[in-house]
């Protein structure tokens, strides 16, 4: 197993920066999830680590060795592709055997390893089949098996579960997690399903437009998003963001809406708001930290219910605060109805404040 270090990595396609000065370190045995919206450069980053694409700038180290100019075959990595990329003209057995054959292992050795990998993955009965005779879940296992057979130093996985149905995906998620724990493998796992990332990963790397936005434990990313993009991308439903204007009344600071209401800030938050580059401040709040009142309450601001979405154990309510939407979660026993006038109370300890101009999180000075 090995550590993977990316240092100022750049990949350009013509004028497009697919990966833009990305630096991150994946510690030995760590499971890192690479998340971000479609086209943000996740697959490209993975291909650069794998050596499938020529790097345009920066350095990649695997296990302490600079691998920039190394062929994929010499990097000792395994990769699971989004569409599995099983060799269609080879049986499952031969698919699994191929990486070993390429490494010139003895025939008996190959057979032993393939059989043991097949046993672990519970695909022994499929060994003589061709990939097209397998279900999606089975193909996924074979693809995983092909990565497993040769104990690589690093596993790269590109959305390996995205082709599976919801139920199978949850099941495979658990299995993948267990594999990681058993093998203590270094894994870089691409997904645009952040639930996958949160449940499986030790660390999360959030990408957007080729840039690495934040790299931290899922909990920290969730609790302390560094900018508005991360705040709105991580968490489901997304964090509500309300653009407001900071105004000071003597030593007190409040956030004023275009509609005229004002939200007084706690001293801690006031200091943050004053650190903004302008008076444009964006208030962020997760649904669970917001309270809903049906009557005017001190410190609460007025809004109108837009939709009510019961999901079973929680009901999500979208409330219009002026032109911004705030999502609130309620116990299903509470009844609200659309167009109802409500008051929203933010938890001063749990709100996030962002600089409206730079979109960065405002930190206490």
């Amino acid at each position: 197993m090995a550590e993977v270090v990316l240092n100022e990595v750049v990949k350009t396609y013509g004028d497009i920066y697919a990966v833009n000065h990305v630096s991150l370190t994946v510690a030995d045995g760590e499971f890192v999830a690479l998340v971000g919206p479609s086209g943000c450069g996740k697959t490209t980053t993975l291909s650069l680590i794998a050596g499938l694409n020529e790097i345009s700038g920066g350095e990649i180290h695997i296990g302490g060795r600079l691998v920039n100019d190394l062929d994929p075959k010499d990097r000792d990595i395994a990769m699971v592709f989004q569409n599995y990329a099983l060799y269609p003209n080879k049986t499952v057995f031969k698919n699994l055997a191929f990486p070993l054959q390429m490494r010139k292992l003895a025939k008996a050795e190959i057979e032993r390893k393939v059989l043991s990998a097949a046993k672990v993955l519970d695909i022994t009965h499929l060994l003589e089949r061709k990939p097209r005779e397998l279900s999606g879940g089975q193909q996924q296992r074979v693809a995983l098996g092909r990565a497993l057979v040769r104990d690589p130093r690093v596993f790269l996985m590109d959305e390996p579960l995205s082709n599976l149905d919801a139920k199978l995906r949850v099941q495979m998620r658990t299995e993948l997690k267990r594999f990681h724990q058993d093998l203590e493998a270094t894994v870089v796992y691409v997904t645009h399903d952040q639930l996958e990332a949160v449940t499986m990963a030790d660390k999360m790397a959030v990408m957007h437009g080729g840039f690495l936005q934040q790299y931290d434990s899922p909990k920290n990313v969730f609790d302390n998003p560094v900018n508005m993009f991360v705040a709105s991308f991580v968490g489901s439903p997304a964090m509500s963001l309300v653009p407001l204007e900071a105004v000071s009344h003597g030593s007190d600071v409040a956030l004023r809406s275009p509609e005229g209401w004002e939200l007084p800030l706690s001293p801690q938050n006031a200091r943050k708001a004053l650190g903004a580059t302008s008076n444009q401040v964006v208030l962020g709040a997760r649904h669970s930290t917001v309270k809903l009142h049906s009557a005017q309450t001190p410190g609460a601001v007025p809004g109108v219910v837009y939709t009510v979405e019961p999901t079973g154990d929680i009901t999500f309510v979208q409330v219009f605060l002026g032109t911004s939407v705030v999502i609130v979660s309620l116990d299903p026993s509470v009844t609200v109805h659309p167009d109802q006038k409500v008051w929203i109370e933010f938890d001063q300890d749990k709100i996030h404040l962002f600089d409206g101009a730079t979109e960065l999180a405002l930190a206490a000075v």
Binding site: Y17, L24, G210, L212, Q213, Q214, Y215
Partner: protein
Amino acid sequence: MTIDVAHQGGAVPAPSLRRRPNLLRRIVRHWNDYAYIAPAIVVMLLVIGYPIYYTVELSFFKTPPNLAMSQKVFVGFDNYRAILTSQSFRDVTYNTLIWTVVSTFFAYVLGLGAALALNREFLGRGVLRAVLLVPYVISAVAASYVWKWLYHSDFGVIGALSVQFGFTDEPINFLDNIYTALPSLIVVNIWKEFSFAMIMLLAGLQTVPDQLLRAAQVDGANTWQRFWHVTMPHLKGVSMVTILLLVVTNLNSFIIPWIMTGGGPAGATDIWITQIYQMAFGRIRFGMASAYSVILFIVMMALGYFYVKALTRGDEAKSE
């Protein structure tokens, strides 16, 4: 473990790390890729590029009959002038046009008929298709001798049959008569190539969506209307390519007239290619023949333009 945080928002402009590499740099960077096509390019240059260049060059020279090219004499456009003003050029061009247009027309029409008739499941369909394709596959030399024998003035089976059925009183001398020679050769040509049109159009018919035909049927279109308004539009592209290829093949035909009549009688079956060959290797006038080739070549280039266009329609959208 340190936490690397990049504080770039989406709005930060991309720092310009490197300029767009210029053409030379790109070529150098891709030299490895060129290695894959190098053998093909070398062979094509040798066997196509160089000959084209050399033909054009020779067309401006008078070449000696012993082919010692060091003794060739520059004559400017004389060769072209001589060819274009000669009576024989007009006759040969006329023959070439008849040959090409009539052959292409019938090959296409028969091919289309066969394709439509074969585009339905029935017993023996595969066998029939294979049999119809055999003339296309066999050697044109063998085919020419077979037909030469069929047309034989004394013992030919066609002449004998025509007498047998009372069409004529005595066997027709197909290949020695200036009126029947060219049509007789055209029949052979059609025999040889109609199944090419058939196979192309049959493949084209597979692309006609069944749903559309059924929809048209529901809308009350009869067989002819369905053919004309649904099937034919779908065959347009294939037909273009097929007809172009037929035209090119026919303009280039050599074997059938050469073996069967050698251009005779009295030049009745002489077409461009036989004329060029005769000029080059019969009379050893390479310069003149080269000029002739260049004329043919220009016609081909024009057709080639349409060929590539027909072949790549819709391809631009797909690539990059």
